[in-house]
């Protein structure tokens, strides 16, 4: 994960450099500084996004370390939290791999496949604790407000209840039948 965060930093640095160079190139062709920024807009926004990814991943790893050092986490929470942060970093790396590869010529296909394998390993490790994890966020059913996500898992019962509560199901024949459908059928379009 630390290597992925590093690769994201390198990618961010290169994108900032690219944005700066693009701005400079435009400025040297005698446009105003403001227009040069406008013309470099795509590179500038890409650089900011890359910086956010680099910062999110680096900082999450650092905060995890800090929490572990403080000793506030039980061993199980520490383990799962570590898996989550690693998954986050690797997922971010893979989703940004286009940019990362563009700026890191040293990364090989084999290395990339290794990261993908680790991603899948982490999914498998987290799978048994998925429900316990989301239970741990402790959202009350009222907060979720969802037929699909209630704590008791009575999904189909709730979907049926909601359908039956639906106002158009409150009478066997809706008035639109008499007002519109029946006249249309009588008129034999």
């Amino acid at each position: 994960a630390a290597n992925c965060a590093r690769a994201l930093e390198i990618s961010a640095l290169e994108q900032v450099r690219q944005a700066w160079q693009t701005q400079k190139t435009h400025q040297s062709s005698k446009v105003s500084a403001e227009m040069a920024s406008n013309l470099a807009g795509r590179q500038l926004t890409s650089a900011a996004i890359a910086h956010a990814h680099a910062f999110f991943t680096r900082n999450a790893l650092q905060q995890l370390d800090a929490l572990r050092q403080k000793g506030d986490l039980s061993p199980n929470v520490s383990l799962v939290l570590g898996q989550l942060v690693e998954l986050f970093v690797i997922d971010t790396f893979l989703r940004q791999s286009g940019c990362v590869l563009r700026w890191n010529n040293g990364i090989t296909g084999t290395q990339l496949r290794f990261v993908e394998r680790r991603f899948e390993e982490l999914l498998a490790k987290l799978r048994p604790n998925a429900v316990a994890l989301v239970d741990g966020f402790d959202f009350h059913d009222r907060v979720l407000g969802s037929t699909l996500g209630c704590h008791d898992g009575r999904v189909y019962e709730r979907l049926m209840e909601e359908a039956r509560r639906n106002p158009v199901n409150q009478e066997p024949v809706n008035s639109s039948f008499h007002n519109h459908l029946l006249p249309m059928m009588r008129g034999k379009l």
């Binding site: 999110f56 039980s74 998925a130 429900v131 316990a132 106002p167």
Partner: protein, 486 residues
């Protein structure tokens, strides 16, 4: 309880209560939140008696206002029981804001509610930009909802983030010692503020100040827009709701036109700049804390969207265990969808993202508090850290809101057709997450502001200057790459 969910819980190696205690910030915090939620969620006065699809836009607004008043009365009662001598302070307002946007507010108002702006922006702005006299005049009444229901009106129909482009103007008349406020064109109508439509009776209006024909920039004015007793719009005030939106339809976003509306001189917020009775303009200290308020809202937004993302992840995870779909081995029954790697790849990274955002948001919050403390002590360290804090809060808010709304939509899709039902609630969650992409700093505008900071820091790194911690990699990494040590 569904048997599959029960089995999952029994087989887990993680104790969800253990995790919940850490997530809540400790056992005491967890218990306090649960007890507060019980107090509201088990109260029949807050039960949903009408099916949401039965309500029109207007009825939804009316129901939300009715519920909001009951909610605030009950919340106030709880606060008094906890702390009879409640002293209004910046910290208390911040806590209150967190309470409203946290689980309690979400549980009662899936589409948010109109008085949020009263506590988040109206009162906060008076606290940060008003003089002691102005605070005495407005704050206590606002806190007790005593004839003052406020909102904050900055953006205009034709103008957003570019503050210098705002057209609303305030002309000072030294003869009557009043400001005359006008929205001179249709594009200058205030547009978007929550609660402005039909709820608020006072608005903080941002307008270009002109005194004796000279322009003194954008200033904040407290403007009464509706009569305190009748709630009728006052003379010269054209106010209403802007209509249904993609999400957050409980907010009562409004428009506001002002035509020769006169307000007394003491209703310009004068902590940072003053207009004296004779029209002399006095510029105070640079409004650094004003800058801080914007940063504060962005830090909070980061917490809001991770909350929404994890709500979506919770719904999708539980559903994916209950839902059985296809066999993996042909001689075995259909498995839970979550047993398919493709489904895990949709859901688990969203949980990881939400939790990691939480770690970063907590850090950003501490950084923000530290910078604010340094600014209040007038230390140079605070001034030096402001650009870094500003850039970080901009780009983290932008990227987090983008990824959270994308994540919520992916979670919705992971629930197949059922995820598309309104009763699954992804529409509300997505609506709020995607609104955050635009409000309090539009995505691309924030990225460009961050980029300006990054390019400046990059140039500094070429001059071998010491960089702020969050961008120190620009220098260190460059050294590694160019030194070929990587």
């Amino acid at each position: 309880v569904n048997a599959d969910l029960q089995r999952e819980r029994a087989a887990a190696t993680l104790d969800s209560e253990d995790f919940a205690r850490w997530w809540a910030g400790g056992a005491w915090q967890l218990e306090e939140r649960r007890s507060l939620e019980r107090r509201f969620f088990e109260d029949p006065a807050f039960a949903d008696t009408v099916h949401p699809s039965c309500l029109s836009y207007k009825e939804r607004y009316e129901q939300t206002v009715a519920r909001t008043t009951r909610f605030l009365a009950k919340l106030r009662q709880w606060q008094r029981e906890k702390q009879p001598q409640l002293q209004l302070s910046v910290n208390m307002l911040r806590d209150f804001r967190l309470l409203l946007s946290g689980s309690l507010g979400t549980g009662l108002f899936q589409q948010s509610f109109p008085l949020r702006m009263h506590f988040t922006m109206f009162m906060t702005t008076i606290l940060s930009q008003g003089t002691a006299e102005q605070q005495a005049q407005w704050l206590n009444r606002a806190w007790h909802m005593d004839g003052v229901l406020g909102t904050y009106a900055q953006t205009e129909l034709g103008h957003g983030t570019f503050l210098r482009g705002l057209e609303t103007r305030a002309d000072y008349d030294p003869l009557t010692q009043e400001f005359i406020l006008n929205t001179p064109t249709q594009s200058s109508y205030k547009w978007w503020p929550g609660g402005l439509g039909n709820t608020a009776n006072v608005a903080i209006v941002l307008a270009q100040l002109h005194v004796k024909g000279k322009h003194y920039g954008l200033q904040s004015f407290v403007v009464r827009i509706r009569d305190e007793r009748t709630h009728e719009p006052l003379t010269g005030v054209d106010v209403g709701d802007i209509g249904p939106r993609l999400g957050g339809n409980g907010v009562n976003n409004g428009f506001l036109g002002l035509h020769d509306v006169r307000i007394p001189r003491n209703q310009m917020l004068m902590k940072n700049a003053q207009v004296l009775a004779d029209g002399t303009f006095v510029q105070g200290r640079p409004p650094l804390l004003l800058y801080g308020t914007m940063v504060y809202v962005r830090v909070i937004t980061l917490k809001d969207v991770l909350f929404g993302l994890l709500q979506g992840a919770t719904i999708a995870t539980r559903y994916s265990v209950v839902r059985r779909q296809s066999r993996i081995n042909s001689d075995e029954p259909e498995v839970s969808v979550l047993d398919h790697v493709t489904q895990q790849a949709k859901i688990l990274p969203q949980i990881a993202r939400g939790v990691s955002y939480r770690l970063v948001a907590d850090w950003l919050w501490r950084f923000y508090a530290e910078v604010l403390r340094q600014l209040e002590d007038e230390s140079m360290a605070g001034r030096n850290s402001l650009p870094e804090l500003h850039a970080l809060s901009c780009c983290l808010k932008a990227v987090a809101t983008d990824e959270a709304s994308e994540g919520v939509d992916l979670l919705r899709k992971s629930c197949g057709g059922h995820g598309f039902l309104s009763s699954a609630n992804f529409d509300s969650i997505y609506g709020l997450a995607t609104a955050a992409y635009t409000y309090e700093g539009e995505y691309t505008v924030l990225l460009l502001q961050t980029a300006r900071f990054l390019v400046g820091q990059y140039v500094d790194s070429l001059k071998r200057k010491v960089l702020p911690t969050s961008v120190s990699y620009l220098r260190d990494t460059a050294r590694l790459i160019w030194g070929k040590n990587l």
